[in-house]
Symmetry: C2
Subunit: 366 residues, 2 copies
Amino acid sequence: MSKYWNKLINGIEPYVAGEQPKPGQKVIKLNTNENPYPPSPKVGEALKRFDLSDLRLYPDTNSTDVIRAAAKFDGVSEENIFCGNGSDEVLAIAFQTFFEKKALTGLPVLMPDYSYSFYPVFSEFYDIRRKTIALREDFRLDPDDYIGVPNCGIVFANPNAPTSRAIAVADCAKIAAANPDSVVIVDEAYVAFEEEYESAVSLINEYKNVCVIRTLSKAFSLAGIRLGYAVGSAELIEGLKRARDSFNSYPVDRLAQKVAEAALLDKDYYDETRAKIIATRKVFAKEIAELGFTMPPSSANFVYAKPPVQISAGTLYQNLRNKGILVRYFNKPVLCDYLRITIGTDEEMAQLTDAIRQEVLNAENS
Amino acid sequence: MSKYWNKLINGIEPYVAGEQPKPGQKVIKLNTNENPYPPSPKVGEALKRFDLSDLRLYPDTNSTDVIRAAAKFDGVSEENIFCGNGSDEVLAIAFQTFFEKKALTGLPVLMPDYSYSFYPVFSEFYDIRRKTIALREDFRLDPDDYIGVPNCGIVFANPNAPTSRAIAVADCAKIAAANPDSVVIVDEAYVAFEEEYESAVSLINEYKNVCVIRTLSKAFSLAGIRLGYAVGSAELIEGLKRARDSFNSYPVDRLAQKVAEAALLDKDYYDETRAKIIATRKVFAKEIAELGFTMPPSSANFVYAKPPVQISAGTLYQNLRNKGILVRYFNKPVLCDYLRITIGTDEEMAQLTDAIRQEVLNAENS
């Protein structure tokens, strides 16, 4: 509390990001869904060609070169893309642009009860009423639950986090069609890790109210560069630009633009990386299932897994941490029964599986 | 207008940044107060040492290495610094943290009537009442005008933009002392170009309500990297972090952190660059004064100059533009009598002076 902070800042509960190891600390880091592989080698080549004296000049406000590469990648027009400083910023700006303040509407934004924990924080921060809608018992998002519920907007992650389950694009379309006056934000941070890749980007021409959020943090191995983008009708994109230009006209720096463009243009490398992660996930999921873990089918670069009765998620999290393996544990009702485990390299997952096996055995014998 | 945008976005008038030339377009660009010199050579060395595979990992949320370098540069503690994605973002977050919404207070934020045109935009965007306080006729900010005026906060640029005039740090202290319950934001984007360098950073221990905003865009030649920071009491910095973590936990990417750290540690290069720009400004100001221009004394890397009666600022702006020289023209009452001209290299300013001389002569003869 401080008399210098306003009411909002005094009252808010900020988002808590996953733990970052200290520099030099040796850990197997499987807690923030980063990609275990380096970014495309084209990134290094692009940086080598970069003339550092250009850093004296402001960057292109629209990140035009990145937009061109993203439009090609997603098969849409350049007018359908908006770039920001990470998908968190793009999401925040989308909340601020498309959803209405409590003071001006009785209508809430709808979101699943377990989803990216930044969504409730954004709705607090921008003073937007929210209504959470329970996932089904198997962590499935049922599109019918989003039909006939008055709202000022809808947001969900697909695949969802931390639950890892995806719904079909046809189901996203169903939600968009049933809510023609609301913007439906589909956060596709993890979409690249679906085996049968399917994106709601295919809906944007038919549904002017669908806003898809993408990031280069996961599938492109560029969490360190902070590049997210929105894909939607020109009308939605124009709204996002208006918000950006009321806040920070130059959100993406020159180096980040170069890096992002190079990565987006290297689709072969992207395909290769996602295939490796999907393959590793299959092996890992099978092995921990054999150890008694249960989990929904994962379409993401993580699994959401409940340990066998012998050991609680909280204890396992702590014991793994003591062994230098970081996974994500949410100390909240329901979520506290599960661990969210990022898919690393085959080697990292083998070490983790060994450590888990040992922990389960120890728990059995104690 | 769009039914998908909320009321705020439908009603807002976004900030309009200075014109950016198209790639490959040959112009002398003196319209956005960029530095004509490249950044420190240490920046290139730091990038060479950077391991690109680290880009797969999220950056340090606090930009600790940058903070360490900035703390050394400014002679303060690390707990007194907050880093963001350009000083525009830091300013926006400061508005959102320290000033109160209209709906919750009758009190306005005070700002000079001519100042950085993003301030009124921020106050609209965050729904904060504002009261503009006229500068004196010679564009001087009089601290007495900020005493005894009820407010929820105060913001001004020092040196001010676009007017280029500075006030003494003792005057900033006077404003802070007279408003102990309000945060006083002193935006020092241009402070490096004062001949007798003096920063309000020296006030932060005595005045817990002073928040100084710095940027690497101007004096460090890094507009392309987007690094701004706030300096203030630990209490103020903590508030800014709460807002950041409700919006975007990783505002500064890994490459930007490396670049910023290297630049901040090269104080010799910084001193050399600012001395060159101050020297060029003196020559240029003298030469256009001889052509009949009038201007307040500049403490910035630009001058705010009124052309002689023969030619209007609007006409001169347009004619220079046709010759491939961009300066900034604000088509608004009072401001429309002036041009804001960035100080470039000696060569660029000589070309500009020649072009201006020609325009004034042509106007006299027509």
